[in-house]
Every structure is written in C-alpha cells, then in structure tokens.
Assembly symmetry: C2
C-alpha cells in the first residue's frame, strides 16, 4: 500500500465509513443467545487432537468451521496438510486447515485472524462438575472443554465480521482467517502450509492477530510474548509382558523403577541446589506470594517465589519442567500387583527466548541416557521429543499494539495490562519467522478460565464484550498509517 492509498483510506474513514461502534455493540448484545448456541454446538464436538481415536470428530469440527465461514460469504478453502506419523509408524490424516477471505480491497489493510478448534482431553471423571462436552451455563460462566481455549474466541472473531455484514457496514480492513485443528499437539502440518502459502495467502496480509490466551486479571490485556514447549516421551522397555509382582518381584529390574529413578534424578526440588538439576532455577518459597496469587487467580496452590516480579518472571521469562504422567503403568483405582513391562513418562519443558528446541532435545536425551546408563539396567530407554514449539516475543511499541490499546480503551474504558503468556501458541513464532508480518495477541479469555484443566469455562461477559473488542480493533487497525509502521 502506498502513501496515496493510505491517504485515500483516511479520507474514506472520516466520511463514508464513520465508525458506528454503538450500533455494532447493540447488535452484539441483541444476538448473544445465538452466539452462546453457536458455542454450544462447537463445544459438543470432542475435537481432541491428541487422541487418535477422536480424529473423526476433529475432521467434523474443521468442516463446521468451513461451513460457518461459507455461510458468512467468505472465500473458503480447506487445505490438506498431509498425514501425521504415529509412534507405531502408522499414518493418520491431519485435520484440514481452513482459510477464508472477507474483502480484498487493495486500499485497506489486511488482518489475518489465527485460531484453533482442537481441544485438550477431558473426561467427567477427571473431576469436572459438568459434562465437559455439554456447554453448561452457571452464574454467567459457560463451562465446557475448549470453551475458552479456543472455540469462543474463534467464534467471537466470526461474530465481529458478521456484525459489520449484517448492519451493511463495510469492513474497515480486509479480514482473513486461518483456523487449524492441531494446536494442542504442536500445530503439526501448519508450518509447512504457511511456508507453502507465504507468497499466496499471506502475500497481502499486513497483520496477524491471535486470541488464544487469557487476561492476567480482571483487566483486559494485550499479550506480547509466549513460552515455547518441548514435549518429551521417555519410555523404558523391559520384560515382554506385564509380570506378577509376587512371582517375579526381586528377579527383574523393573522398568517403572528405572523410569522413576532417572526422572527423580533429573528434577530436583527447590531446596536442592545441585548442578545436576537440568531444568530448574527456583527462588525460595514464601507464603506471601500465595496471597498475591489468590487475588489474581482465585486458585490456591503452593507457590514458591517471593516477589510479584519473580512470580511473573517464573510464569513468563524462565523455562520450567512439568511431569504430566506415566502411560503403561497401573493408573486406575484399586490395588493391582503387577510389574508393568513398558512405561512411558510424559514431561514438557517450556521454552523461553534464545532456547532452541533442537538443542533442548539433544540435551534432555543425552542427560536421561547418561543417568540411565549409570544404572546399568538391562532395560532399554527411548527418549523422543514429540512437540518442539518455539517461544515468541514482540515489540510492544509497534502501532499494532497501540491499536489494540485503543480498542480496549473504547470497549472497557481502561488501559490494558501488557503481559506475556506462560503457555505456548506455537504458531505465533512461525508466523513471525516465515511471513515477517507483525503479530499481536489480543486475548478475551478470563484469568480463571481453567485452560487444559477441569471445569474450563468462558464467561458470557468476556465472550460478548470480547466480540465488541474485535469489532473495535478492526476499526483501530484501519487507522494505522503506513508512515507509523
């Protein structure tokens, strides 16, 4: 877009397309029941990308996304991104990536909205108060797996575009959508697709917005950085089959004891200052921080940092390791007395800027193999990194962030928190590296939405006001001048 074009847009905006925010906001308020029903339909689809048995549901979810965008009059494509290779060497079709375009006015900026509609696993027996795939409203909160992460935000973007359409107002910017179904397991296939479409779909994109995160408090936020994630499987393989622990106990080296031994040695507690601790860099535990966090998150859990600045640093700036669980061992209620023959630990390390997943993969694998070899166990260890997502960090002085700030000010009458995210939106870094475009994260999820855990929810307030925020953001974007960028 040249300077002449920019000037003509500014002229247009100040006359024909004067922003009628109140009218749009009223439209949103009047249609909120319809929006909740749309979310209910989407949450009902168990689009768990980590469970291969749910893959048909995931395909169906992508079709529903394409259908919705088509109904809105978008130019929609369902892009085949190939197959996923499973650990057992079998292959499985990846869910298609859905792209759409609304408007192609060369005199307008073009925003690309990224979102995902796959979800984390969830079962009622994990401790949900309601059926996780049946959206249930309690006290203004809409409970359901994927409600906040990321189905409601994706829908809110669609509602925002649709509001302009229904009120016969021209979109202030061209809007493109790119919606995927593998985010929760590392956006398999998406990077290659972005590379392939760098000079086609992305050629006219000016900005990319991601709304796959949450606020830090009750104050709206703009996110300028995320941690990456390297997800590992450490598998110890021993006897050919599970064995009776009475009959064989004492005569076999148990894979479970090997696995727990190497994990125990690799993840020290906060009071162990030994250099063998590969993962942790921890401050002293102090109860004062619990009160701070209680105010901020309403979740009581044991924190170990002392100061607010430390706490936020540990959430956003430092790496961390979590051990999620062990597959293959006895995990049901009851007292089975078996020696499991093959056990697989799952753990992940959150990445921060200047960490390279390839290096992390080698270091972790070398470390575990080194600890394992000292045991001189006859069992075998296999370490594999199944997700390797890079961290992302943006410049908050970019006009894109000014636009976000202005939009928040209009809808919520406050200045936003400028925050980073401890979680991972793998594709943000890829967008930045491949397309060279500017990226902003504009969350609408609440600080207490319970992403990835039991009783995930999206509040009706955040869903509806978030839709208005996106409407306002589209307008603010249109006022960015070429000179400012």
């Amino acid at each position: 877009m040249n300077i002449g074009a920019s000037l003509s847009i500014l002229l247009v905006l100040s006359t024909v397309h004067a922003f009628q925010y109140n009218q749009l906001a009223q439209y949103v308020d009047e249609h909120q029941e319809e929006y909740v029903e749309a979310l209910r339909d989407w949450v009902a689809v168990e689009s768990d990308s980590s469970n291969v048995l749910r893959r048909p549901e995931l395909h169906r979810m992508m079709e529903m996304v394409a259908q919705k965008l088509q109904q809105m009059g978008g130019a929609v494509e369902s892009v085949d991104v190939g197959d996923q290779e499973l650990p057992d060497r079998q292959t499985l079709a990846l869910p298609k990536v859905v792209t759409a375009r609304f408007g192609s006015d060369p005199n307008k900026h073009t925003l690309c909205v990224y979102g995902h509609v796959d979800v984390q696993p969830a079962k009622l027996e994990d401790g949900w108060a309601t059926e996780p795939f049946n959206l249930t409203e309690i006290n203004g909160n809409l409970y359901g797996r994927g409600a906040s992460d990321n189905k409601a935000p994706v829908l809110a973007w669609m509602h925002a575009v649709e509001a302009y359409q229904k009120l016969s107002m021209a979109l202030p910017v061209n809007v493109k959508f790119i919606i995927e179904g593998m985010e929760e397991t590392g956006s398999n296939g998406l990077e290659a697709m972005i590379l392939a479409q760098k000079d086609t779909f992305f050629s006219d994109v000016d900005y990319i917005v991601v709304s796959d995160c949450g606020w830090l408090s009750r104050r709206p936020a703009i996110t300028y950085g995320t941690r990456g994630n390297c997800y590992f499987l450490a598998e110890v393989h021993g006897p050919k089959q599970d064995l009776h622990s009475g009959v064989y106990g004492g005569t076999v080296i148990e894979p479970m004891i090997d696995l727990i031994g190497i994990l125990g040695e690799s993840s020290a507690s906060q009071h162990q200052k030994k250099p063998l601790c590969l993962f942790f860099s921890l401050a002293e535990h102090n109860k004062t921080i619990i009160n701070f966090i209680k105010q901020r998150t309403s979740i009581v859990c044991p924190f170990f940092t002392v100061l607010k600045v430390d706490l936020l640093a540990h959430k956003w700036r430092y790496p961390t390791v979590s051990i999620h669980g062990i597959e293959g061992a006895f995990s049901d209620p009851g007292t089975k007395t078996v020696i499991p023959s093959k056990v697989c630990a799952k753990f992940s390390i959150r990445q921060v800027p200047n960490m390279d997943p390839t290096v992390v993969e080698k270091k972790v694998s070398d470390h575990l193999h080194s600890v394992f070899s000292k045991r001189q166990s006859p069992n075998t260890l296999k370490v594999s990194m199944v997700i390797g997502a890079k961290p992302w960090l943006a410049d908050i002085h970019h006009p894109l962030f000014e636009a976000g700030k202005a939009a928040i000010k209009r809808v919520f009458s406050v200045d936003p928190d400028f925050i980073r995210e401890g979680g991972t939106i793998p594709i943000s870094r890829t967008f930045q590296d491949v397309t060279g475009k500017s990226i902003i994260m504009l969350p609408i999820g609440g600080f207490d939405d319970g992403l990835h855990s039991q009783n995930e929810k999206m509040s009706r307030y955040n869903y509806i006001e978030g839709t208005k925020l996106f409407i306002a953001f589209l307008n603010e974007l249109s006022q960015i001048t070429e000179a400012a960028v």
Copy 2:
C-alpha cells in the same frame, strides 16, 4: 480322633472303601467338557475385588459358588463379614464368605479347602490377545482372567468331591470349603471371620489345603512357603485442581515432581550400594541367568541374579519392592499438558519370614516422610498401607506333605518339586496363627499361567489332571495315622 478310631478307619479303608483311582480318573476324563463349561461360566463374571464398581459382580460370583456347593448337597452357609471402609470414608459391603461341609463322620479326618473367586483387574487394551472375561481355548490352554488364579483350582476341588459322589463312593475324609472374594486385595474380613469361627467351623478341621499358586516348572510341585505383601499408597496433594503447565509451570511446586522425587530416592538401582536404599538387596546382573529363566518360564525379561540358588532366593526368601503405577496423573495416549493436582503412587513390598507388616508400615511411612520433608515442599504427603499380608512357612516333614507327595506320584508318576512362592496367599498365615492347624499348598496351575498379567490361562491338562490329583490326595489324607502327626 483317638487311636481306636484310627485303627477302625484303617480297617474300613482296606476293605469297603478300597480306593478305586482308575474309575474316578476315568470319570474325570469323561466329564472334562462339562468342567471347561463350568470354568467358562465363572470366568465370565468380572469379580474384580479391587474395583468398587465391580462389587455387584463379586457378590454374584459368591452366589454362584454357594449355588454350586448346594447343588452338590453340601451344608452351605454364606457368611456376612461386614463392610469395607473406602479411602473416602464411605463403606461398601464385603462379599460374603461361602462355607460348606461334605460329610461329618467323626471317624474320618476333616480337610478344609480354601480358595478364592475374586480376580485381578483386566482389560483387553492392556494387551490381551483375547477378551479377558470370555474363556477362550487355544492349543489346549484356557485363556481368561482368573482362570488359573483361582477359579479353575476351586472348581477342580468341587469336581473331585463330586466325582466320589457321582460314583457313589464314600469320601475318604470329610471335606469343608471356605471360599472368599477379597483375596486379591488382602482378604478383607476373612481374618475376623476365621477368629469368630475358630471353635465352630474350624473345630473339627484337621488339615487345610490351599491351591492358589503354581508349579515352578513342568513338574508338579508342593508349596511350603509364601511371601507376604504390604501394599502402599503414597499420595501427594498440591493445588486445588489440575493446572495448565504453560500458564502455571514454574510458579508451583508440582505434586508429581515431589512424588517422583521421593520414590526415586527410595528405590535405588542395583548398582547403587548406598544405605539409603531401604528396599533392595541385590546381586549383580548376569546374562547367564536369563537362559535359565527362559527355560523355566518361557518369559524373556531382564534378570539380575547370577545363580539358580540366588534366583530362587530372590523369588522366595528376600523382600522386594515393585512400583505399580500412579493414579491421578495423565496416563492415556496423547500429550496432555497439565500439572496434576493430586497424584497417588502405588507400590508394594513382598514380606518374608520375620518381617512384621506393622513395623514395615511405620518404617516406610517414616522414610518417605523424612525424604519428603527434606524437599521443604508446600504440598502434603499421605502414606497409607492398604494391604498388610504376612508371609507363611511350613514344615515339609509333616505327614500332610508326605500325603501330597504320594498323591502326585500316583497321578503324575514323578516326585514333586518342593517349592516356595514369591506371591502372597495372605490367609495361609492367618489359618496357621488362628486355628493352629497344619496347612499345605497343593498347586495345579502351570509355571507360565501369567497370573495378574495379560493372557492369564489354565491349561486343560493341568485343570483335568489337577482334579485327579485332588481325588488322590483325599485318599492319601485318609491314611495319615494319628501317631504320625
């Protein structure tokens, strides 16, 4: 029984009741299809005593046992042994203990047959080649959960008694049955019941036989000792709910890392000779032993003892620890990124003579709490021993063992292996302590039956020849003179 009575028995045996083994054995051979069908009916009942959701099935199983004994004309009682207290303080009715009596001739010895009809958990997806609760015959083996442990042996004892009845031969000894449904979880309720019936049901019992174990090789065996079992839960409780590992990772002390840390420190590898290793006393690993075990068990697994005598000592004479699994953590396929809020490790320590479960409970709990307290974690640890079963050791010079040896010689034409058992039959020790009666273990299960693991089976050969063995044993028992005991 006085000397006069004994002499009159000897007289009777040598004339009217001359033992017609061949006729009885032929009867058994002719009815083997019927026996397999009976086993099929029993295996079809998922009588898993460790899973409270299967309790109705367990009650139904006990009713089937009572019904069978009634059909055989026994004096049957279903004894209420009270309630089980669950970890959440709720109570659940224990399965009734079924007792029965066949014959009450004061001039004959009285044998009490103990068995159990509850089973370990089993699911097809654990790696079973056939549906675990659908008895399936392949190459002469009858595959199904509980087939060998302990449903077929219990049925074989019933078939043995029934064979005498059907051929109108007097039973050489009075036979009593005591069949329970909580063996796999520590025979909850049975000890109190035995104590209560010490002077009633058990008053005229001379000998107790248990057939809840297996041979060491293809040669029939008599078992004279078992290890006990102390089963522990170690639960670490942290945040109120599961947390997203990206959002909260680095700011909470994760219960899973605490748990793995304390378990890792408490179970050293075989090459760590440190005294902190509470559980292990291990010899060097050597591959030669693998060949020995391959011949003996056809299961290839990593063994670490050098000599045959060491191997058997590690199976029978030394304690061992097994870590079975972790409840509460992520155990499914896939890559969930969650920090579990509450995780519960399950491990068990096999007991040997002179170990006292009460002492073991205190030592394990103290040790884990001591290791845990060094971590200065804000999480909480709870250690509980949910099974505390004592070991048992008998005198192989007792005439009861001579009777077993003679019966084996008659049916199989070989001398038995005299063996001990690495597994636990908790009640054998209780029988000995409470009733003061002599106990023998007369197994009919094969060495490769896969108790507690996938593809458990009972061979048709062992089931049918085992029935004949019990028939012969009843006769041998009747010939024990008072003087010999």
